[in-house]
Amino acid sequence: MSPMNFRQRFYLVEVLAGLGLTAAHFFRNMGRHTARALGRKGTSGAVTIQYPEERRPYSPRLRSLHRLVRREDGSPRCVACMMCETVCPAHCIYIVADEHPNPEIEKVPRRFDIDLGKCVFCGYCVEACPEDAIRMDTGILEFSSYSRGGMIYTKEMLLSLEPADVSGRPRSPIPLPADRRA
């Protein structure tokens, strides 16, 4: 970087120039919003979305919180083949397989935990699944916890989630993490 010249080192000139730029944007936006409010079309000012009351529309391809797809009887479609666990680059999926009572279905997960504190939302688990049993289409992006343990989502939590509606709005409430449940 070249050394600052005198004008830059003097400080005040540059500060005033900066304030001028901010003020120019402010008045331009105020003018445009006012013009819009008075019914003039074709002009748009800068937009602030009033999150969380207002939300941007999400792309249907968005990778949001995982869910486990259910069979018709409510049991998980997952057959505990460990493909997602194997492909997961963050090693955040923990599956323990169990014998399924029905010999036509070989395996069923006894445990299926995702450690969202580790997850990198790459979506490889969805790609790898041969049964379409895991999807990232809940539209839920806001999940937080006071502890690392609270970021571990269990099979039951993941099974209870519904896919987002057509506009991408979540249909399931955000699951309460383990460390915030009574």
Binding site: V79, A80, C81, M82, M83, E85, T86, Y94, V96, A97, D98, E99, P103, E104, E106, K107, R111, P130, E131
Partner: protein
């Protein structure tokens, strides 16, 4: 001898060799399912087709004997086309349930499809359905849909165990492997059919769903289950500790050794690894005072042993070593005893019931290193040491591994001996009655957690290697002995088991000329197998080893 050409390379093989083995000698792999070098030839799978010059069509390699001047080609277009068609034929009714199949990752259908198949499936009809998840016996479970009817398992039960439980029933594409009525696959070698099954039809009930095979690491090892010393591979799961409830050793698989176990191991050995991850493992040195036991540091535990050695005259010290210890451990212990002139040392504890034995692999002596112990002067009967203790001639007793109360020794005698001794030290991997009654417990690493050598009943010295880290603070027995020596100002001058083996080779004539590189993967016989051991060891040979040598 027959001289033939395989893929342009000339090889000479003994007369009677088939073309699969002849090609192997030339470094060429001929794909096959039904052929197994340990079983008779069935010619069932038709995959091992090769072209032989001057024959009109491809021929199966397994049932063709190599002849002088034969020109064999395994990679002609015709052979490749044939293989591809046969792969397609084998997979017509295969359920392709690889993701849920335990064999996935080590399945020869997967391997050969990727190497020789790669066709687009043309099967449009409903596949033939057959029974799934059928337990055949205590160790083996059958999925008849995955079976390609190579008949290896049937031949194993007919030819190796001669028990004949299995057969092929029905005809055509309804053929399936099954048990003869009223039979169960429960012979002593039953789980070998899982190893030889090239597909996921026969899988291991103990291993079922525990760990996916691609998570496993392997180490070459020796089965510690009996004096045979079968060569095995220890498969351990270090990468996914949440699988199999945290048990690290997932399974044992036989490893080929023409001189010892060929391709097989017995079921008792195969499933005898549970103690490594058992909840009763000893993890920290401990001291028992009154009725309660407290964990202590290694320094304190070592000081207890070293203190006794320093304080007491040698005739008041006794040691009961174990024939389950490696040669290296026993040699380190022998050096310690010789330095202090301790003569009250034994290694053999009589068992309550004699071990089972057969004329194939299983030996009655359930210790992997009885001959090694004997050569190192630990062949003596523990009863003499315990008698000395009962006569109040011993003040210190160091017991390795044995559970004296689970043995044929009388409970009253052992208890009396323990009460008469001032300090009893126990070194072993798992808790037992002896460890519960010892004043000091020094935890030892299990065989899979360290390396060493065993000498089998035929005098074959074989290496076993480290598969996993020791649990807790456990140390190999030779390391414990080394620490005791260090605190007495003596040095063991060994930081690896191999260093001790070099010293052992120098000191014990029977081991002369051996070294770790020489032992390699399959071991090497002692210079004079079964010959008299260490001069002055003066121990009577144990029953198990003397009867077999």
């Amino acid at each position: 001898m027959a001289k033939l050409t395989v893929n342009g390379k000339e090889v000479e093989v003994p007369a009677g060799t088939n073309l699969i083995e002849a090609a192997r000698a030339a470094g060429v792999e001929v794909p096959h399912y039904c052929y197994h070098p340990g079983l008779s030839i069935a010619g069932q799978c038709r995959l091992c087709m090769v072209d032989i010059e001057k024959t009109p069509r491809p021929t199966i390699a397994c049932n063709t004997v190599a002849a002088d001047g034969m020109v064999v080609n395994t990679e002609t277009d015709r052979v490749r086309e044939t293989r591809k068609s046969i792969m397609e034929f084998h997979l017509i009714n295969h359920p392709l349930d690889c993701p849920v199949c335990d064999q996935a990752g080590e399945c020869w259908l997967q391997i050969y499809y990727m190497k020789h198949g790669l066709y687009d499936p043309r099967m449009k009809d409903e596949k033939v359905h057959k029974p799934k998840a059928v337990p055949l016996g205590p160790h083996v479970i059958l999925d008849a849909e995955r079976c390609i009817l190579c008949s290896r398992c049937v031949r194993f039960c007919d030819e190796i165990t001669a028990t004949g439980e299995l057969g092929i029933f029905e005809r055509g594409d309804h053929s399936e492997i099954g048990l003869f009525p009223g039979r169960e696959l429960d012979n002593k070698y039953s789980a070998n059919v899982v190893d030889i099954c090239p597909v996921g039809a026969l899988t291991d009930r103990d291993f079922r769903f525990q760990v996916r095979v691609w998570y496993l690491d392997t180490a070459k090892s020796i089965c510690p289950g009996c004096a045979r010393g079968c060569n095995i591979e220890v498969h351990v799961n270090r990468r996914r500790p949440h699988h199999a409830e945290g048990r690290r050793v997932a399974r044992l698989k036989p490893r080929f050794n023409a001189e010892v176990n060929k391709w097989w191991i017995c079921d008792a050995g195969r499933y005898g690894f549970g103690f490594v991850d058992a909840p009763d493992r000893l993890l920290t040195p401990a001291q028992r005072e009154g009725g309660s036991s407290t964990d202590v540091t290694w320094e304190l535990g070592i000081a207890a042993v070293a203190g006794a050695l320093r304080r007491l005259p040698p005739e008041q010290l006794g040691v009961i070593a174990s024939p389950k210890m490696a040669n290296e451990d026993l040699f380190a212990l022998r050096r310690l005893l010789d330095l202090h002139g301790i003569s009250q040392a034994a290694g053999r504890v009589p068992t309550r019931v004699p071990g089972d034995e057969d004329d194939f692999l299983i030996r009655a002596d359930k210790n992997p290193n009885s001959l090694g112990a004997e050569l190192m002067g630990f062949g003596g009967d523990a009863r003499t040491v315990l008698e000395a203790a009962r006569a109040r001639r011993l003040k210190f007793l160091w017991v390795f591994g044995h559970d004296l109360l689970a043995s044929a020794l009388s409970e009253r005698d052992v208890l009396e001996a323990f009460r008469a001794v001032e300090t009893v030290v126990f070194t072993g991997s798992n808790a037992n009655w002896t460890s519960a009654h010892a004043h000091w417990v020094l935890p030892a690493a299990a065989w899979a957690e360290r390396e060493g050598t065993y000498t089998n009943f035929e005098g074959r010295v074989q290496r076993f290697r480290t598969a996993i880290e020791p649990l807790g603070q456990a140390l190999a027995e030779w390391e414990i002995v080394g620490r005791v020596m260090a605190s007495l100002g003596q040095t063991l001058s060994a930081t690896r088991a191999e260093h001790l083996f070099r010293q052992l080779v120098e000191a014990v004539p029977a081991f002369a000329g051996l070294s770790y590189p020489l032992l390699g993967d399959t071991g090497s016989p002692l210079a004079a197998a079964g010959a008299a051991g260490r001069p002055g060891a003066g121990a009577p040979p144990s029953e198990a080893t003397s009867s077999s040598c």
